[in-house]
């Protein structure tokens, strides 16, 4: 520290002298380079003033006393900057530490999500889930049971970031601890609701939609817990309709019951499940309309389910200037033609 100060001082005297003699841009450029060097060496602002004073003592020892006194004044003024500068350095280190911790946590969280979509002969499945920042409050899950039925869950923890991510890990363990045999969507949500109600602070809520596709009869059974409605695409009529399921959010009331709905799925029909980060994409003109979303999905509907969700995500991300305001999850299940 003391050594680097001495070295800085020698250099400062040298470049200031050059500048005072030549008074040109080269000298000022050297000053700019030097300012980077003082930062690298963690020389604080009041020390820079001190460097200047010491240099002046060499060049102009005969300055009036008032000028010298004024430097004491200047050093005192710079003290505040010096203190802020030191705090800044420490906070920067702290931030790096926090960031690396969050990166580890975010990687861990990724392992909670399924690696791949289930391979089902009758279905074409696409999924995309992107957190707004590093950690996500969205959760999705696929399960294939012995009868070949495909269960699909999508959940959104109200809020985002680390608290939502912690809550999401609990949903994952809640799902894992449910009985092995196939559960009807309504019963599954009732079970999960009790887990959430017991384990999560009363100010955290989770919305969820759970559906089960039976490929033997091509019926989609589903129930919802206050979740953003999805869509059902009817290929024969080329129309989208809302996939709504009435039900209270998870964690609100221990004894909530969930109604079960079902839809007959014809070849080429598809189900769209999403989190509210998809419909709450904000552009300069406000939230996008749900029609805007169905228009986008329709536009890509000739592609595979995975390509549809990828393209829709890209378009909506672009609309928002490539910065997401909320976690984004979109799932499409299509009965193959």
């Amino acid at each position: 520290m003391a050594d680097s100060y001495r070295l800085m001082q020698e250099q400062y005297v040298k470049i200031l002298k050059t500048y005072l003699e030549d008074k040109n841009e080269i000298g000022l450029y050297q000053a700019q380079q030097f300012s980077k060097k003082v930062l690298e060496n963690q020389i604080s602002p009041e020390e820079v003033v001190s460097l200047h004073i010491e240099a002046l003592e060499q060049f102009y020892p005969d300055l009036p006393q008032g000028a010298w006194d004024s430097f004491d004044f200047l050093i005192e003024i710079m003290m505040g900057y010096g203190m802020a500068y030191r705090e800044h350095q420490i906070l920067r280190d702290k931030q790096k530490e926090l960031e690396s911790e969050i990166n580890v946590a975010a990687n861990m969280q990724q392992t909670f999500l399924p690696d791949e979509v289930p391979d089902v002969e009758e279905l074409d499945i696409g999924v995309i889930s992107v957190p707004a920042s590093k950690m996500s409050g969205d959760y999705y899950h696929f399960v294939k049971d012995n009868n070949g039925c495909v269960g699909v869950a999508i959940a959104d923890i109200i809020g985002k970031g680390v608290p939502a991510a912690l809550c999401m890990s609990m949903i994952k363990y809640g799902m894992d601890s449910l009985p092995e045999q196939r559960l009807q969507p309504g019963a599954l949500l009732e079970n999960l609701n009790r887990v959430v109600e017991q384990n999560v602070a009363s100010n955290m809520f989770i919305t969820m939609m759970y559906g089960s596709y039976d490929p033997r009869v091509h019926h989609f059974y589903y129930s919802g817990a206050g979740h953003e409605p999805g869509f059902f695409y009817n290929r024969a009529e080329d129309t989208f309709e809302e996939l709504y399921a009435k039900g209270l959010v998870l964690g609100l009331n221990r004894d909530t019951q969930f109604r079960e709905y079902h839809k007959k799925i014809e070849p080429g029909d598809f189900i769209v499940l999403l989190s509210d980060g998809v419909t709450e994409c904000r552009t300069a003109e406000g939230f996008i309309e749900r029609e805007e979303l169905t228009r986008l999905i329709h536009q890509y509907s000739d592609l595979s389910a995975q390509e549809i969700v990828n393209n829709v995500f890209y378009q909506l991300e672009k609309l928002q200037g490539f910065s997401l305001r909320d976690d984004f999850s979109l799932i499409i299940l299509r009965r193959k033609v």
Binding site: D72, M79, G82, M83, Y85, H88
Partner: protein
């Protein structure tokens, strides 16, 4: 070694007197301009804390020495004591970015960084004693 000076702090005038006494002693001991400013800034912060949170207390200044392999080391010790409400969570006020200090690096963590040694004792309801030292380089 040298005499200690006590300055009572119960107004902004007390803060100025403490600074003045600190600067005089720092000069006497041979501290340079920047270190003088650091010492007086530390005194300012400590005295302001007394004035704002304990209403009154005192700042004790003393030149000290320690023997080391390289010879005798000289330094300046500041003790700030009050019988105010004390600090409930010292760990919290020693945390950077803790806001009641007014932010931007001031407050106790700022004082700690300006000085070479820092020690604090606080008992809720009884008061606070903060001892800091700056060694001559």
């Amino acid at each position: 070694m040298s005499v200690q000076s006590n300055v009572e702090v119960h107004s902004e005038w007390g803060i100025v007197s403490a600074r003045q006494a600190g600067r005089n002693l720092a000069k006497e001991l041979g501290f340079g301009g920047v270190d003088q400013a650091r010492i007086t800034t530390a005194i300012s912060e400590l005295a302001r804390n007394i004035y704002l949170y304990a209403e009154k207390g005192e700042i004790v200044l003393e030149g000290i020495e320690k023997k080391e392999a390289g010879g005798v080391h000289r330094g300046l010790r500041i003790v700030a004591k009050d019988q105010g409400p004390g600090i409930k969570s010292v760990r919290e006020v020693m945390e950077d970015g803790y806001t009641t200090s007014g932010g931007l690096g001031a407050g106790l963590p700022g004082v700690k960084r300006l000085m070479d040694e820092f020690d604090i004792d606080s008992i809720t309801g009884e008061g606070t004693v903060i001892t800091v030292v700056k060694w001559l380089r």
